[in-house]
Amino acid sequence: MVAYEGQVTFKSAGFGGGAGVVAGLKQKATGESLSLMECTGQGVVYFAHDAAEVSILDLNGEALQVESEQLMLLAGNLSTNVTFAGVRGASSGQGLFTTTVSGHGQVALLSRGGPLIHLEVSPQYPLVVDPDAFVCARGQLTQSFDTDVSWRTMVGQGSGEAFSLRWAGTGVVSIQPAER
């Protein structure tokens, strides 16, 4: 929050970010921590975080997989959960788990370096993204982990793009124009 008008109170959404104790335990265990606060009352609230760009997404009952650190705010009737994302993160530092937001409402996401770039994925055209640039994904998607480690990497002549995320199926993957 950077500013507000009217009568607004801020309170910690509590352990688990308002999603319950089980969710809180999951977050603690998986490292996909989500420290949220709840704004209630009447008025206009202005949000910003560390000069990052903000993109707003509308969710209509679908599930959005998002990096928890890129999630800025969500409307009160959306729920979050931590799900297993596959064995992608062990070496990319992104973790094995991801945060899922589902329900009906708006989500605001942070992106570094510029607005989010939405990339469409279709069965004919799978998409490979840098794990450090990945922000969120929605749709019927499966992700896998691509490695490009060869003898060159071993002798220090790697391209610097040894690990990448491959998305297949139908949906939209959003990336930011910067690497974490």
Binding site: V2, E5, F10, K11, Y46, A48, A51
Partner: protein, 239 residues
Amino acid sequence: MFTAVNSKVVSVNLAHSGPVVARRGAMLFYTGQVHFQPHQVPGMGGGAGGFGGGGGFGGMAGRMLSGEHEATMIAQGSGVVHYGFRGIEALVVDLGSVGGQMRVEASRLLAYTAGVQASVVSVASGAGGQPGGGGGGLFGALRNAASGAMTGQGMFTTQLMGAGSAVLLGHGGIFELPVNPNRPVFVDPQAFVASAGQVSSTLKSAMSWRNVGRGGGESMQLECTGQGVVYVQASEQKL
């Protein structure tokens, strides 16, 4: 008088604007005949030469206490000077359009024309003569000192008066919020950049014993009341 070159750089033609005071080291390049000299805001204490300068030891102490001690320089001559600071977005504000009065954190002030009267004032003495919410007297002063220490805002702020223009710095850009008597605005102290017009700001605490440990992380807010404009940056980062 200042011209925005892009969102982060401003230029000024000294022949039109007269001398310009800017944060020391913020000059990027200039053309023409320009001289830079150290400059001190009156009331801020000693000059660059140590204790002996204008305000003497008392002024020095006051300056250290206030935290409003950004080193400034004055550019004189004729030519065009470009200013920018650490890649932070800059906003040009014409003081004439905001009632000739503005209060800004010294660390958020990039430059202003020397025709503007700058002074360091206590936050507690609200704009327009009425005292701020900290309350008068010694107790009020103590409370303001405590709140300043808590938010890192300090007890003092730089006041600009008169005709001219100023350039503000805001990490992530600055947006303006109008304030009028029946529409107060609450601002995160770290996101607060400046206020213009007859605006007084008081620190408000949303903490109570009931919500210790379960507050929303927004326990302190600056309540801006009066008539004018508040400038807020899109970040909680300090300079």
